[in-house]
Symmetry: C2
Subunit: 343 residues, 2 copies
């Protein structure tokens, strides 16, 4: 534990987007530049005997929804149904609750209707998202967009969560590069909290909180249409947000040109994390607006992509309070990430 | 994946305490009775060369706050300062923010003043909490109480979170049986959300949501003063709550007799989990009321203890949405836990 860090006092910070207190606690950590994953995700691996996501193994997968390029056996991206979906894509015909009525009064219950899909990001087992050229990362992003637009046609679906798990300690059970998306019949709690918080900031300042995300000490990289920053009250060490410069509410408004630009910045960001943090397992999540958002909501809602490297687990404190302890100050993480040289 | 489970539809449930949607998804899991930890916490282990928490090693610890019995070298429980505290117990004298002013406007910042203590639950390295007799578990609970009452004397401390990490995948870095508590200068987000939700239930029904926690299908065990239940919308498989029968807002109102009774039920519950789930790593958290809660808040606030075995990690979906996917229906978990025979 190094002295310049130890001498700094802990701080609590709360930002205008997540509206959650985070404890920044330098005494809990080694020096920020020494952070390294202890369980790196394999950078490339031989495919297991039969990986259902590999090209040629399509018959081992749940049904395909579409592929890019369409009708081509030499595909680059496939969107398929999840074989073990958390929600059911069949509408319920005769719902019969198994719980007694006193329980039902105590809580709320909804049928588990919804969609759970998998996006296979590459035909080749050993190729990860950050290995792709920006144009091919863009194909993955545009596959998300296409599928979100399909789900938006179903009035029962309120929100679509796109997410990626990479590496076992980030939850990934499959090693072949993939992401997932779920079309949900409710607006999830973190989304409501975020939108409420962004609305409050807008009402108080007249500004969109994401358009005005602090960059002075926290900027990492820039592209034509996007910037990457460490958020002001990052919950996790080296958490990063990629934010569109233009005020746009929904991810699915992304066009081809911006998709390639975002693909490039995402690739660079993942490569930097991999190099600096020893190939950490990671998650990314696209935070967008509800499908049926009103015209007035669009003034304060602005989509962004959150990347969280998994460097340390959580414990009872976080489970109990919803408050995170982050040993790395955001401005220190940003400085380190800015200076990583991937060329 | 067994057929009786697979035939059931997924459900979304939200309860009146946490107010969070949880997806119950039978297709995501093996049979509920097959749940077993894949990384069991060692049930007993030789002490490492020098475990600072072992009796005789007190000089390797941060300063002691108190012990039971007092002034006795043959102690049963010690409460000590955390050597790497997340918060600083010294008041800040000259605070100087390192962030530029545009960042400060965007969020909130507070000095990291607060308390972070460790409770050593047994003098002997190989003895876990569930190995203790109920009277000795009670000593641990009464140590929490005593320390909370001390912290309540500090007006800057708004909430005390007591929590336990057991086993590496529950976050524990020390194997010697211990728990922790943090005295916080803010009311954490999950606590506010819980209190708001309980208040809403009270305003709508005139009842305390915890006094009326559903037990018909969800009860596991009972003691004189407490019950254990699986919550209606459990976020995690085999999550359990221990709830006082009497309507009491603050954990620290616990008296000696109730402490022994709770000690017995906690011991039984941990032993059942250990047997049924293969010694899973676990966390427990005491959910109490803010220290300066008003008289009117006490009508709807009721403390309880939440136990979460760590059986599966989380991924990007949970990080992004705050919504959990639980493969085990609460009524199935309750039935299994009721029937575990520890005698
Ligand atoms: N042949 C096939 N055809 C189609 N689909 C197939 C398939 N074989 C496997 N799949 C699906 O592919 C998905 C791969 O997903 P990941 O590896 O990212 O994590 P998983 O969803 O298992 O759980 C992680 O992410 C979720 C959501 O965040 C967490 O709940 C969980 O704890 C964490 O481990 C799985 O959902 C699986 O059902
Ligand atoms: N000689 C000594 N004297 C006094 N104290 C000593 C000591 N040696 C060690 N300690 C303290 O003892 C505590 C033991 O705690 P745990 O093993 O339960 O988890 P820890 O707090 O490390 O982190 C887990 O819990 C926190 C809070 O939930 C999460 O943030 C984190 O990710 C997770 O790993 C540590 O906090 C440590 O600082």
């Amino acid at each position: 534990m190094a002295s310049p860090v130890e001498s700094r006092r802990p701080e609590l910070r709360k930002d205008s987007v997540t509206n959650r207190w985070v404890i920044f606690s330098p005494a809990r950590a080694k020096r920020p530049s020494d952070f390294q994953s202890k369980s790196p995700a394999p950078s490339s691996s031989d495919p297991p005997q039969t990986c259902p996501f590999c090209i040629g193994q399509e018959h081992h997968c749940a049904p395909e929804i579409f592929r890019f390029p369409p009708q081509n056996s030499d595909w680059k991206v496939r969107v398929i149904q999840n074989l073990y979906p958390a929600l059911s894509r069949d509408k319920d015909l005769d719902s019969s609750a198994s719980l007694s009525s006193d329980s039902l009064v105590w809580g709320c219950l909804l049928d588990g209707y919804g969609f759970h899909d998998v996006i296979i990001e590459s035909p080749v087992h050993s190729v990860h998202l950050s290995d792709l050229i920006p144009e091919d990362v863009a194909q993955v992003l545009l596959a998300y967009k296409k599928r979100i637009l399909q789900l938006a046609g179903d009035d029962s679906i309120k929100y679509v969560q796109v997410f990626k798990n990479h590496g076992a300690s980030a939850g990934a059970s499959m090693t072949h590069s993939h992401s997932q998306m779920m079309g949900l019949p409710v607006i999830p709690p973190s989304v409501s909290t975020r939108l409420d918080s962004m609305k409050q900031y807008f009402n108080q300042t007249g500004k969109c909180s994401i358009c005005h995300v602090p960059t002075k000490d926290l900027l990492v990289d820039e592209s034509v249409h996007f910037i990457s920053v460490v958020p002001y009250a990052a919950s996790f060490p080296f958490e990063l947000w990629i934010v569109p410069r233009d005020h746009v509410s929904h991810f699915h408004e992304l066009d081809q040109e911006k998709a390639v630009d975002l693909g490039g910045l995402l690739k660079v960001t993942l490569m930097k994390m991999s190099l600096q943090l020893n190939k950490p397992p990671f998650n990314f999540m696209i935070h967008t607006s509800p499908l049926q958002a009103s015209e007035s909501d669009s003034a304060y809602s602005h989509w962004f992509l959150q990347i969280v490297p998994q460097l340390s687990g959580v414990g009872g404190f976080e489970l109990g309070t919803g408050c995170y302890i982050n040993p790395v100050f955001p401005e220190d993480a940003a400085k380190i990430m800015r200076e990583v040289n991937i060329s």
